[in-house]
């Protein structure tokens, strides 16, 4: 069915830190799962739900993000009307103002020009292949002000954790990173509400000089507004720390996970790179790993996620690693529990070792 909703994706979250991985890029633009960036999952979920008008609210560091999203064509969002728009801090109003990277007037402008009744606002740091069809329908039928998606996440690690307490499915309390949570219901950072209601809330915030916008901005109004919960039972990984980034990547290797997230009816879209197929030369040894196009594999790889265009040299040993795009692992290097950012060179004989909770991170473009 056609969905009468637009989407807003928040490219960054000041509470989330992925160490060096997002020194130079928004959370949304962080590579994930061999050929994707984190935002691909939320953006594809919206597109697959029939949402055709999506704004990505960027704060700083959005060069990678713009480069990845381009005209939106890879998500079929290069449209004459609607489509994909990046909302950078600067363009938020016609007039030049003192730049405030978290200025929210631009978001208000963007909402004003939409024609949809509802708006789905989502943080970008959720890895899942979900549908918003029932979520929006449930919100519409219940007639409440806001509906928030949550789950019971036993794999939860790291902060932020927005814990929600319900009475008759209505939010009655909200705690951020509680040490002793009253509830095991945790917000997925996805809410739906009427577009005009969000515009009113933004109007008031602008009038009060507020500049920060995220889903808590909406949820914190649980006393003034009726906010209902919607439980999500999909396979979902929260990325809110380096450890959760690492563990979510590793969980892709578990049986059935690839099928659930990538191989169902709804696909995850991403920017196409037109790499050649991966080549496995003689003497390689690969086991329980995701490998991408453009790779040349001669060495040994196990329990790892290898992105596009990586060279794994002879006699090298990679285990429990995440190797980002276009990195070169030279002859005889040995790595375990390491995350290597893109365009990096690991020289012959280098050995690096981290642990699953504290993986070693090697920054972008360096030579080790």
């Amino acid at each position: 069915m056609l969905i009468d909703a637009m989407g807003i994706i928040l490219a960054d979250n000041s509470r989330v830190r992925l160490g060096e991985l997002n020194d130079a890029r928004a959370i949304a633009a962080t590579p994930f799962g061999g050929r994707y960036r984190i935002i691909d999952f939320m953006l594809s979920s919206m597109v697959n739900s029939g949402i055709k008008h999506v704004g990505v609210l960027a704060e700083t560091k959005y060069s990678s993000l713009m480069d990845h999203l381009g005209t939106g064509s890879h998500w079929d969002l290069d449209r004459l009307q609607q489509g994909l728009r990046i909302i950078p801090p600067y363009m938020q109003s016609e007039f030049f103002r003192s730049p405030n990277p978290q200025d929210i007037t631009g978001l208000h402008d963007f909402l004003k020009h939409s024609v949809h009744t509802y708006v789905v606002v989502a943080e970008s740091n959720i890895i899942s292949n979900m549908s918003f069809t029932d979520f929006v329908a449930d919100h519409k039928n219940s007639g409440v002000d806001v509906t928030v998606m949550y789950n019971h996440d036993s794999n939860r690690l790291g902060s932020p954790n927005i814990s929600l307490s319900f009475e008759d499915n209505k939010v009655v309390d909200l705690m951020i990173d509680p040490t002793d949570p009253e509830s095991d219901c945790s917000s997925l950072g996805i809410v739906v509400l009427e577009r005009t209601l969000l515009m009113e809330m933004l109007d008031q915030a602008i009038a009060r000089g507020e500049t920060l916008f995220n889903t808590e901005f909406i949820l914190e109004k649980y006393q003034e507004l009726t906010i209902h919960g919607y439980e999500n039972n999909d396979l979902t990984f929260r990325i809110n720390s380096l450890a959760t980034y690492f563990s979510a990547s590793m969980r892709l290797l578990e049986k059935g996970v690839l099928q659930k997230i990538f191989k169902g009816e709804n696909k995850i879209f991403t920017k196409v790179k037109n790499e050649s197929p991966a080549r496995y030369l003689k003497d390689n040894q690969v086991s329980n790993s995701l490998i991408s196009d453009g790779c040349d594999i001669i060495g040994s790889v196990e329990n790892s996620v290898v992105f596009r265009g990586v060279n794994v040299g002879r006699y090298s040993k990679i285990s429990n690693c995440i190797i980002l795009q276009d990195t070169v692992i030279m002859e005889g290097a040995e790595l375990s529990n390491v995350i290597i950012d893109k365009d990096t060179v690991i020289r012959s004989g280098v050995r690096l070792q981290g642990s699953p909770d504290y993986p070693v991170v090697i920054g972008k473009g360096v030579i080790v």
Binding site: L252, N274, E275, K282, N284, S289, D293
Partner: protein, 422 residues
């Protein structure tokens, strides 16, 4: 829109009947190649990399899959507002209706399309060759020589020359004679089926050729000889890179194996001359715990739990535990189930090979009821698309598996589905 100096017309209408069941439901240019490509990706990528932005694709035979694959040309950056990619099927008009009779007639029927773009030069290509060529260089040679037509040729071994259309040329490359499969070749320059014509000259010749009721309306047989007869200047342009016509089962298999054995020749990793293809929306490929992959190419969506050796594995193909795939090509979505062993096989799109099957070149005492010398040679065995093959069967080499003429299945081919793949 800037005037187009040269537009390309890609002949993609042939049935490709020598590929047997592989072209039962799809046109030859749409046949999968090299793990993630379709054959036509090479012609389309060559055009876009050569800066040609107006491309007509002439279709006729089973174009649905090809049309779906090409779509609006987006994947090759040919979804332009003006020009871009146009699919040109036969049509009816006041003057009557005709299927395309030959290569020249196909272009003749689209004179109006070409006139609309008003190009100086027209590039005529075939949609079923594997090669990378910069057509700009060939155009520069054409312009510099003030030729009426320029024909790309490549040197073939002298002892094979009698199998090709041979161009005899003088020292400056001017073609003096064209001989189709000459018994005693005077030259070893074989036509690649890539032509640049000055449009005005070609236009006139197409019209004259159409009036000749005895003509078979073919570029090689009619247009080129007629131009030579008239004394026009035809230039032979020598191309020296990798080139292969994948028109037979053997050449299709061989050209895939070339990616493993001679990867530098076609060089798919060249960032300055990317071969574009339609994105397949699959995750990176997964290699299981006990898998072994030797000397093979793989792409997104593949899952390997068994062994792939010297093989080309396409998107979404699966090799289950204990299965072995050797010297073979798995087309998109093909599955080789547990314990099966295939050798020198081409497995069609979405075909599932049952458990403990043995098939191909090295099989002893395999069933011979599917042997098809007409299509298969050198021990290569072909499974059509959309088949389900029974467990535990043994199939001899040189076989071609498909349901019988009436579409009925058998104890070997249990099921057959007409496929819509995109």
């Amino acid at each position: 829109m800037p005037k187009q100096e040269m537009i390309a017309m890609i002949l993609a209408g042939g049935q490709g009947s020598r590929l047997g069941v592989l072209t039962e439901y799809i046109a030859k240019p749409a046949v999968p190649y090299g793990s993630k490509y379709r054959i036509i990706d090479f012609a389309l990528s060559n055009c876009t990399n050569s800066g040609i932005e107006t491309v007509g694709v002439l279709t006729q035979y089973s174009p649905l899959e090809l049309n779906s694959y090409i779509g609006n040309g987006y994947s090759w950056d040919l979804d332009r507002n003006l020009g871009g990619l146009s699919i040109l099927p036969p049509y009816q008009s006041m003057a009557g209706s005709d299927w395309y009779k030959g290569t020249a007639n196909a272009i003749y029927q689209n004179i109006q399309f070409i006139d609309n773009h008003d190009p100086d030069y027209v590039l005529i290509l075939s949609g079923d060759h594997i090669y990378k060529q910069d057509y700009r260089k060939m155009l520069r040679a054409h312009i510099k020589a003030e030729a009426d037509a320029t024909i790309a040729v490549r040197e073939v071994p002298w002892d094979e020359a009698s199998r090709f259309g041979i161009m005899n040329a003088d020292e400056e490359g001017r073609i003096t004679e064209f001989e189709e499969k000459p018994a005693e070749p005077k030259s070893n320059l074989a036509s690649m089926g890539v032509y640049i014509f000055s449009w005005k000259t070609l236009r006139r010749h197409l019209i004259e050729d159409e009036l000749d009721l005895d003509s078979s309306n073919d570029f090689g047989q009619n247009i080129i000889p007629a131009m030579l007869n008239e004394g026009l200047k035809l230039l032979a342009y020598t191309f020296s890179g990798y080139w292969k016509d994948v028109g037979t089962i053997f050449s299709l298999w061989e050209s895939n194996m070339d990616l493993l054995d001679r990867p530098q020749e076609i060089n798919l990793q060249d960032a300055l001359w990317r071969i574009y293809c339609r994105n397949i929306l699959q995750p990176s490929h997964y290699i299981g715990i006990d898998a072994s992959i030797i000397d093979s190419v793989l792409t997104d969506g593949v899952e390997i739990y068994g062994t792939a050796k010297h093989s080309v594995i396409s998107s979404g193909a699966v090799i289950e535990e204990g299965a072995e795939v050797i010297d073979s090509i798995l087309m998109p979505g093909a599955v080789v189930k547990k314990g099966s062993k295939i050798d020198k096989c081409i497995v069609g799109i979405d075909t599932v090979i049952g458990e403990n099957v043995q098939a191909g070149h090295s099989v002893q005492d395999g069933r011979e009821d599917f042997i098809s010398e007409k299509f298969c040679s050198d021990g290569i065995t072909v499974f059509g698309s959309g088949l389900t093959i029974a467990d535990n069967v043994k199939i001899a080499g040189n076989s071609m598996l498909f349901p019988n003429e009436e579409g009925q299945t058998s104890d070997v081919v249990l099921e057959s589905t007409v496929l819509g793949i995109i």
